[in-house]
Symmetry: C2
Subunit: 183 residues, 2 copies
């Protein structure tokens, strides 16, 4: 059964980047993370990836060697003029301007039996949760207080959302929290 | 060796009370929490408690039957005119107007070999951490997104603070995170 999983790495005080927009403190050992069993398991179960436009542009549209070699859907207001780099038979790019429900629908169709993984940014993840589209929320909680930066969970007018913890595990410097989003 | 432990219950999105100042969503089963082994262990190892003025007033100054029957130190700008209720041979009240370092010093002296537990509120805990007075940070992470309210970790100009995870455990609806604050 395909699930929609939203998740990001967040500092204990709730930030997904620091006051300068940098993420070094959240990913101090990118290579270890890429080789972790935790990420490899996520890659195996993922059939399609959704991301927001800024997340797409963090890699300057170059996805050569990207961890997830699956169809990738970018939620954006405008389709970029320059095509993405790194496309191949498995990794394709679709730019979606019709909103969060549509991008998740398309990703679900592409993922088949596997999961849709929404990798960020913060706004895209919040939209997914608030629209009731997220089945699970996976937070990699980094053991640091950044003090300032971009928040994953900004103030929201939506009613409280109950979660159910379905797993906790640890890697060096990170606690992996998995929650089911209660309907 | 006596430690200074700061900690509170926080929603996954970082709030210690909701937009109405209520905490029901964070403590849906107060009785179960009071009887939990988790709290009982904290009570056994605690030799003195520190709290801020608003936390003190949440119980209207009535501490009859308070969980921690140890010397209690209240950080405040003004000593209240009305005395606290619930004092006894073990539970004494000291109001401290000379700031966070002084209140922690006094509590340490009273705690002896046992720990000083700083139970809140958010401002008092932040002051402790930022002044370098906290040895450990214990967060009870409640499985809920409140959307709005009072944040435990507000934006801060202090440099990033590294933590070391020293223990994760679970109770129904709560993940207990324990960190050592790196000097």
């Amino acid at each position: 059964m395909s699930r929609v999983i939203v998740g990001m790495t967040m500092s204990l005080d709730g930030f997904v980047s620091d006051r300068n927009g940098e993420v070094d403190r959240l990913y101090p050992d990118l290579e270890a993370m890429r080789q972790s069993e935790h990420l490899r398991a996520a890659i195996r179960s993922t059939g399609a990836v959704v991301m927001g436009r800024r997340s797409y542009e963090m890699g300057s549209g170059d996805f050569t060697g990207y961890e997830f070699q699956v169809p990738l859907f970018v939620l954006t207001h405008r389709v970029p003029e320059q095509g993405a780099k790194g496309a191949n038979d498995r990794l394709t790019f679709t730019f979606v301007t019709e909103g969060i429900e549509r991008v998740v629908d398309l990703a679900k169709a592409a993922a088949g039996d596997r999961d849709v993984t929404v990798v960020g940014g913060a706004g895209t993840i919040r939209q997914c949760i608030e629209a009731g589209l997220a089945d699970e929320l996976h937070i990699d909680l980094r053991s640091v207080l950044l003090g300032d930066g971009l928040r994953l969970f900004d103030r929201s007018a939506s009613p409280p959302i109950d979660l159910e913890s379905i797993g906790v595990s640890e890697s060096p410097g990170v606690t992996h929290l998995r929650y089911r989003v209660k309907p």
